[in-house]
Amino acid sequence: MTDFFNALTLLGNFLIIPGLTYGSQLALGALGVTLVYGVLRFSNFGHGETMAFGAMVTILVTWGFQSLGLSIQPLPTALLAIPVGILATVILTLLIDRFVYRYHRERKANPVIFLIVSIGVMFFLGGLIRFIIGPGDQIFFDGTRFILKAREFKQMTGLNEGLSLKMTQAVTIITAVIIVAAMFWFLNHTRTGKSMRAYSDNENLALLSGINPDRVVLITWILVAALATIAGTLYGLDKSFKPFVYMQLLLPIFASAIVGGVGNPIGAIAGGYVIAFSELILTFAYKKVVLYLGPDNMELESLVQFLGTDYKIAVSFIILVIVLIIRPTGLFSGKTI
């Protein structure tokens, strides 16, 4: 029986908790992509860099707070700095919309043009971020590192394997739950949220109903900026902040949005967890789990791993391709928010 709990702890520590954390980060990122797709009707390749920009401003403000001695122990100071990061990112997205996207929107440009323009925005933002904070690794985490340490868990339960819960993991998961709940409440129960869904569903009819498209676009960018900043900061807290990592994140984020049905917020969240768990399940080495569960004198040569961790990024790509071939509209048929 102990062996069974050891195996379970092992999975919990290396698969379930990291999966939930990474899945939450992807879900928040995918939610932003899906909102832009649902309302503004284009695939925003600049989203990864928007996340990086929000995280960068949050980091700069965090450093400022730290030097002033401000803190919210045991929570990371970055949480206190997020509102400033959101504000800066809102201003940035609105400026980009005003000077880049609005021009194309007024001419009712083809979505492909928007997509290419967003790639331009991506490179511009990437450059801007490296110019301000540099390409290197930035550490901005402070506060208590662990809520539950592996050693404490072992002492508590007497098991061989330890279960640890990092502060960043708990913060990520709880924040994601709160943000997602708030987001759905907003979309389903407020007049403004409903008008966004109406605009996403049927632009002409929304216009005939007196819904102001400029306002819908404005609210969308504000939400997207907030989601991007939160997702970017949580990811940076959990792993570390390195600008180029956010560009790489774009693929799993888009995979999440598309797997769930792009344009559909529930799909984006489900997609985030599907992608996160697929990556982890396929690249996890099950050797110790098998040893615990197998007969006592069992010996294993291999790591019992489906794929090497080097192929992690390929997993989301493969899932993306499979979904596009078998069910192009995603798990929950997308199109409208």
Partner: protein, 234 residues
């Protein structure tokens, strides 16, 4: 003087005009129907009245005001309601949310108006929590009309409200439209089912190639042998 009157409207989407000196009007509490063969410009005439077609000549008067230069959404605020022929409901939203969105420009309480629409279309009350996209064709049309009624329009414009619904549902819809007209709403509609539509019409317009061919009461048009032979199938 009409309550709503498009006078001598001439215009089209591109270089060629679709409408030529076409005039369409309706009074409060009346039903006016535009009929005619395919491609006669029936829907175009209605869109012109609603401001969805650029006019080269002519003007549109509404409630004693010249609205020719107003955009469609500005005309909605003035009291014109429009139900497009297709894509006329928010398919992913519930019936009740569709009605709420119809009342978006209003700042006062909308509960009375929702109750009024449910009185008119009882089936919608039953289905109020269902996405409009899951309803049958006839029910969808009811949602579409209900949505447009939420602003308490003084004139309601319907583009082929009975397209694609069964004859029974069509009769039902026409009955509802008569009820709406009794609330002192002016109704202007385009119809394929010319005979049935003219039966309930106070005024009928027969358009051919973007021009007025016959204009009379519904009754007289139905009685006119020329109209019967050419447009109503004998």
């Amino acid at each position: 003087m009409g309550f709503l009157l498009g006078e001598q409207m001439t215009g089209g989407y591109g270089a060629a005009d679709i409408l030529h000196d076409c005039s369409i009007g309706v009074e409060k509490g009346e039903i006016a129907v535009i009929v005619g063969p395919n491609g006669a410009g029936k829907s175009t005439a209605m869109k012109a009245v609603f401001g969805m077609l650029p006019l080269r000549k002519g003007h549109v008067m509404f409630d004693g005001e010249d609205v020719t230069q107003l955009k469609p959404e500005e005309r909605v605020v003035k009291g014109m309601g429009f139900v497009p022929q297709t894509h006329n409901v928010f398919t992913s939203m519930t019936v009740e949310e569709n009605l709420e969105m119809g009342a978006f420009i209003r700042t006062d309480s909308i509960n009375d108006s929702i109750a009024q629409v449910y009185d008119l279309f009882p089936i919608l009350k039953e289905k109020r929590k269902q996405p409009a996209g899951e309803l049958s064709g006839g029910q969808r049309q009811q949602v579409a009309v209900g949505r447009a009624l939420m602003t308490h329009p003084k004139v309601l414009m319907l583009d082929e409200p009975t397209a694609g619904v069964s004859p029974i549902v069509m009769d039902e819809l026409f009955d509802r439209i008569i009820e709406i007209a009794r609330l002192d709403v002016a109704i202007l509609m385009v119809e394929q089912n010319a005979k049935q539509a003219l039966e309930i019409a106070d005024k009928g317009y027969v358009l051919v190639q973007g021009q007025n061919r016959f204009t009379d009461t519904g009754e007289s048009l139905l009685a006119n042998p020329e109209v019967r032979r050419a447009f109503l199938g004998g």
